[in-house]
Symmetry: C2
Subunit: 400 residues, 2 copies
């Protein structure tokens, strides 16, 4: 699936890591990977995609938990990747370090915030990479770059040593070239707070109201996943979840308050350089009024219960990851267009992130099409079963 012409990796890496071979003899021995530059690596600055952040954070003395765990499994870290500044954006456009090139069409955005990690896998530099997903930051670039993406159940992969954004939404996620490799890496990293038996996933629900936000390509992605599941013998139904706008609204406010809570000290005391979009997001977050945040927080728990009741621990939702293929970079010349594109995407991704649910992004486009992914959203804790189900879907699609 990797294109024949040489791929442009400019702006993809923020730092090369050399001479670091994994210490272990585990299943990833000798497998190269990269991490989004939010993950601490001992002795290497963590930029978080901002030119002033590393000085504030200080040089880390120990590796992030996920990095040391992959190290023990033998994987070889070769670089830290560029990202949407502070992980606070969905386009991957970075005014300080440049914007990584979408490996399938350099005129289009790579998607963010984990842009560099997605590009590194999509371009064939490494077979897997780590990112983070707060509101779609693994899912969206996975879809736009034509690779596998995984957001775990909230709290299921430890985030020690990872720069936070909005902790009640933040997750450590995985990009991979194949479903098989995704599963191996996920098995190494998943650490549920409590081991629980999970029910068998035996029903797929197509989220009809999500299709209203999708272009033709997003709808085709959903149809392909649905047809594959049907042909694999899983019953599928259409549902209206009716909560997409409410999830978007609640996450928008609570996430903004948490993000401001995370970076307030640094921003107010050190006055760092910030890109125009990120500066504006923080400015608005700082002005949020207590009652508005309180209403968004109160709404969240009711939305979580509602989605939980709908999934019954046994259903998967089929949704478009984003409305369609990666938008053109030129679309983001005006702030209005940026805001609009961002809102359409987040209306699709925020259901899972608000509710802390696991999601697997399956690349569904054919070789001659621009990449687009279909999302399988599962009940909390069903992470591995969801990955296995997604693999079956992909195998079925590839056989046709």
């Amino acid at each position: 699936m990797v294109s024949e012409k040489p791929v442009d990796l400019s702006n993809c890496l923020i730092a090369h890591i050399r001479d670091r071979t994994g210490s272990g003899h585990g299943p990833l021995r000798g497998v190269k990977y990269v991490v989004k530059d939010l993950f601490d690596v001992a002795g290497v600055p963590t930029t978080a995609g901002n030119p002033d952040f590393a000085r504030y954070r200080g040089i880390p003395s120990i590796d992030a938990w996920a990095v040391s765990t992959l190290d023990e499994a033998g994987a070889e870290l070769i670089g830290k990747t560029n990202l949407h500044e502070l992980a606070y954006g969905i386009t991957g456009i970075n005014p300080h370090f440049g914007t990584p090139k979408n490996p399938r069409d350099p005129a289009r955005i790579p998607g963010g915030s984990s842009s560099g990690s997605a590009v590194a896998v999509g371009a064939g530099l490494v077979p897997f990479a780590l990112g983070t997903d707060t509101g779609g930051s693994v899912r969206v670039p996975a879809s736009f770059c034509g690779i596998w993406g995984f957001r775990p159940t909230h709290g299921y992969i430890p985030s020690d040593g990872v720069v936070p954004l909005a902790p009640s939404f933040d997750t450590v996620g995985i990009f991979a070239r194949s479903g098989e490799l995704l599963k191996i890496v996920a098995q190494l990293l998943l650490r549920p707070p409590v081991e629980r038996p999970v029910k068998k996933l035996d029903r797929a629900l197509v989220v009809r109201d999500a299709l209203d936000y999708a272009d033709l390509e997003g709808r085709v992605a959903v149809a392909r996943v649905r047809d594959a599941l049907r042909e694999l013998g899983m019953p599928t139904e259409d549902v209206e979840v009716g909560v997409l706008d409410a999830c978007y609204g609640s996450q928008r406010v609570v996430q903004a308050a948490e993000a401001w809570g995370t970076h307030q000290d640094w921003i107010t005391r050190h006055r760092p350089r910030l890109g125009a979009d990120v500066a504006q997001l923080f400015q608005r977050a700082a002005q949020l009024e207590a009652g508005e945040i309180g209403r968004a927080s109160g709404a969240r728990s009711a939305l979580m219960r509602k989605v939980e009741a709908m999934l019954e621990d046994r259903s998967v939702l089929i949704m478009p990851v984003a409305p369609g293929v990666a938008p053109k970079l030129s679309l983001f010349d005006t702030p209005e267009a940026s805001v609009k594109a961002r809102e359409r995407i987040l209306r699709l991704t925020n259901l899972a992130s608000l509710c802390g649910l696991p999601v697997v992004v399956i690349p569904t486009a054919k070789e001659d099409e621009l990449p687009v992914g279909g999302a399988l959203v599962g009940p909390a804790g069903a992470d591995l079963q969801l990955i296995e189900l997604a693999q079956k879907v992909a195998d079925h699609l590839n056989q046709r």
Copy 2:
């Protein structure tokens, strides 16, 4: 256990309900009960303990879900009870409707916010009652009035038709004269969003750091529960949870923002009369800064994961409900003393409410002692098993 001298029920009821016999033939046929005046009853104003609120809310046309469910089970609603104004306080002192009298010592506070419901059961007016518990509002008055109290897993008893305070903490709770009746009512009202198998509770953990906030009486309550569980053959261990202050701090801020979010429109547009303590709480809530709320919200999810990992779906925590017996009313003459008493109590109750965990309050005092309860805190979803375990503890204590 009910005292011989006549009990003073003044200020206990806000409204008598007459000629309302339960419509059903269920297990509660003919059993009388009362509800905190946050629950809608068709045709009766809902005051929420404030003289101006009912006008804003309008006369309800349908019963709260819990009321109609108990009606179908044959129970007979005879009154709506007084409360700490808007359920926003822990003492039960109400400057508008008067303060219900603690049935065991009228010089002491009844505890709140569900003061009238607890007094009605403690004084023998009814065998059970409904309250709500956001930060301790069932548990604390149950302990102070010497009765059973139950806070369910968050979201496990529907709160339709109940005036909210802080929705991500709010629960519908139950007071009862006996563990047996508590179980019957809980079985009728519990509606988990998803039915899940629960592990057997097989280990009790005494929260040592909670004892640092307790008086002698609170410690004795814990020791009695622990000894009974040991004698019943359950292994008990001491633990330091290390998160009591953090849970208190996170809930204090997020709850305040949500409470302000709930009542902001009414307060700013209608300028109702408010008690001095409640007015001050809202004033401070309205001034909370977005970053502070964001940090408290972000901390919450990490605390929830930590407590979840500690309980492993199989442990119960043994804690004092409150530091000790009900404080004297005279203690609350100065605002400083009120604030201090409130903080000590909430440091004990907020672990369970922040994490959405079920709690049963077991009356543990002997007949010649002032009432005090011991709390059993269980994993999310273990509600009925927790009630059964608490019943065994009480039976064991009563046999000695």
